[in-house]
């Protein structure tokens, strides 16, 4: 940062403008999708250098998780990618379950797939809304929100919360679906494929949209892998890497869906991939609903699933009490439930590969929780994607890689 201040001072004092024109974009800026700060060096309107600065939403989730029990740490994962919190929960639970060697009942697995795909549609809808708004298509924004609202209503019906759902539990899910939810989901899957063309009419073939997105932020498949891009951003470059197919988890290997791949590697192909993924996710929900009918009445939580209330060890320092007068009762003994070991488990979250690396020392709380957030990697790839483009393009590029700062800063 001192460099930047220096250059600005120098520019103010001198009449010569041989230094690049510096623009500080964010952390409060409508198009950075949160508190991302980009430090841009411009030559005219062309970007010479782009330096992303993050950390404005850093809440220390990894450190906090080390001091909570496994179940308690799950609610923190809601707050990572808060647009698709169900997917984060599922990823975390799967990682812990893999470490414990726990088998989840089939019904719970199907339900988890449904909420994951619902989260994917919700996330992609929000992405499309903001991406279109960034490029100036205002109406698409509200159409997407209209439909996303429906999904959030279903989430509310499922678990009582709309955004930070905390729905799965280690060993299963917290509540079973009832008939009302299933009916509503059937209605949604019936109606949703008719809604997608509405957005597409406004932008898909529109010449302005095509001009703004085609050939912008191009990245080759090889380069994208090297930069660590995952999810739709990688598949837009022609690499068929989808964890639902590559390393299947839950019941994805039984389901019939296509992995959306486009080959251009630009903003437009990433957009196409996501549009296709929404359709595929809708198909998956449909199939899962049919499968759900086959295992009606089965439990949704594993027999050996640990109780939610696993006694945890006394914290190293007393926690700050909510009230000046302290009065917590923390007396329990430590009971090992998760065996010693480590696991890296990644799921295909809406934004890309969401990996949890959990190290257990055999005690009631994790020794280390590391979250490999797709947004973190995608932001680190922004310089490579945006250099040499124009200022207006960086907006399109940020939109196209789909970032959430809660997940990036953790």
């Amino acid at each position: 940062m001192p460099q930047a201040v220096e250059i600005i001072q120098k520019q103010k004092n001198s009449d010569q403008w041989d230094e690049p024109y510096l623009v500080n974009m964010g952390p409060q800026h409508p198009a950075t999708h949160g508190v991302l700060r980009l430090f841009l060096e411009l030559d005219g309107e062309t970007i010479v250098r782009c330096d992303p600065r993050i950390g404005y939403l850093h809440r220390g989730v990894e450190k906090l998780s080390e001091n909570l029990t496994y179940s308690q740490a799950m609610v923190l994962t809601d707050r990572l990618d808060y647009i698709a919190s169900a997917a984060n929960n599922v990823g975390y639970c799967l990682a812990v379950e893999k470490l414990m060697g726990l088998e989840v009942p089939r019904r719970a697995q199907i339900i988890r797939v449904i909420v994951c795909e619902m989260a994917r549609i919700a996330s992609h809808l929000l992405w499309l809304a903001t991406h279109a708004l960034d490029i100036g298509a205002m109406t698409v924004f509200l159409y997407c929100f209209r439909d996303r609202e429906w999904l959030l209503d279903i989430f509310e019906e499922i678990c009582g919360a709309r955004l930070t759902v905390s729905y799965p539990r280690i060993g299963g899910v917290r509540l079973d679906f009832n008939q009302k939810i299933i009916d509503e989901l059937y209605r949604f899957t019936e109606e949703f494929p008719r809604r997608i063309p509405e957005y597409e009419t406004l932008i898909d073939v529109n010449r302005i949209w095509l001009k703004r997105t085609k050939g912008v932020g191009v990245i080759s498949g090889e380069e994208a892998v090297n930069l660590g891009l995952t999810g739709p951003s990688l598949r837009g470059s022609g690499v068929r890497y989808d964890l639902r197919r590559t390393r299947p988890y839950l019941i994805y290997d039984e389901l019939d869906f296509e992995v959306a791949v486009e080959y251009e590697g630009d903003v437009y192909s990433r957009y196409r991939v996501r549009m296709k993924e929404m359709r595929e996710a809708n198909k998956i929900i449909r199939q899962c609903l049919d499968k759900l009918a086959e295992c009606e009445g089965e439990p949704v939580i594993a027999e050996e699933a640990p109780d939610l209330l696993i006694p945890f060890s006394k914290p190293k320092r007393p926690q700050p009490a909510p009230h000046p007068k302290k009065g917590f009762l923390v007396k329990s003994v430590e009971v090992p439930i998760v065996p010693e070991g480590e696991v890296y488990f990644a799921i295909e979250a809406p934004k890309g590969e969401l990996g949890y690396y959990i190290v257990s020392d055999g005690s009631g709380h994790p020794w280390r929780v590391r979250i490999r957030a797709p947004s973190f990697v995608h932001i680190s790839a922004l310089p490579a994607l945006s250099e040499g483009q124009m200022v207006a393009d960086i907006i399109a590029v940020i939109g196209s890689v789909d970032i959430v700062l809660g997940e990036c800063d953790r």
Binding site: M1, I54, G55, H58, G60, E62, K63, L64, N67, K98, L99, G101, V225, N226, L227, G228, V239, Y241, T246, R247, P315, K316, R317, Q319, P320, G341, E342, V343, Y344, A346, E353, G355, Y357, V359, D361, W367, R368, R370, R372, F376, V377, I379, S380, A381, A384, D409, R410
Partner: protein
């Protein structure tokens, strides 16, 4: 497993331990030749670990020596095999070679590990703090870093920030009491100062 055999063949002295945890293979290596090992894993045609899924560190305070482990989770998109490489880093000399020239994605991962654990990556192009403010002291994810402190102890910059907030307080509309210093006075003071 093919990968382990190849690795053992190529770097027999470097490997300290191999094993499996939750169905995933890992290999613990010495830190000195970590760059060569990872370069081999990345470029060897039969292994082709092209996707560095994750790079992080673990602090084993009082549990293991050496204290730190830098963990590389590797995946090959073509062959679909997974390998975890762990390099041991001692507490007294927390340094390891950077791999950001092999995978560009490692750039920020390494910056984050430096930020959180204080492990220095040699040969990194731009090793600065990433998530924490640049004037932060201490490395938050080390196990001996307390979970909470008084705010002033945590971050030195806060004192300065509070002072600045106090200085700018007269600009707040609800604090403009007649007779007190207004913005213009503060401006003049600032100019003099």
């Amino acid at each position: 497993m093919l990968v382990l055999e190849k690795l053992q063949e190529k770097f027999p002295e470097e490997i300290i331990e191999t094993g499996e945890s939750a169905g995933q293979t890992y290999v613990v290596v010495k830190r000195e030749k970590i760059f060569e090992i990872l370069k081999f894993l990345h470029e060897s045609g039969e292994l082709l670990f092209d996707h560095l899924a994750d790079l992080t560190a673990v602090d084993w305070l009082k549990k293991k020596t050496p204290r730190f482990e830098v963990v590389y989770n590797l995946f090959s998109i073509r062959y679909k095999h997974f390998l975890r490489v762990k390099a041991q880093v001692p507490e007294e000399d927390p340094r390891i070679t950077s791999v950001s020239s092999i995978w560009k994605v490692a750039n920020w991962f390494e910056r984050e590990v430096y930020d959180m654990f204080g492990i220095v990556f040699e040969g990194h192009p731009d090793l600065r703090r990433l998530l924490m403010p640049e004037d932060w002291e201490g490395f938050p994810l080390r196990k001996d870093y307390p979970l909470s402190l008084e705010p002033e102890q945590e971050w030195q910059g806060l004192v300065e920030l509070k002072e600045k907030a106090r200085r700018l307080a007269p600009f707040d509309w609800y604090q403009r009491v007649p007779g007190e210093r207004g913005p213009s006075e503060v401006n003049e003071e600032a100019k003099e100062g």
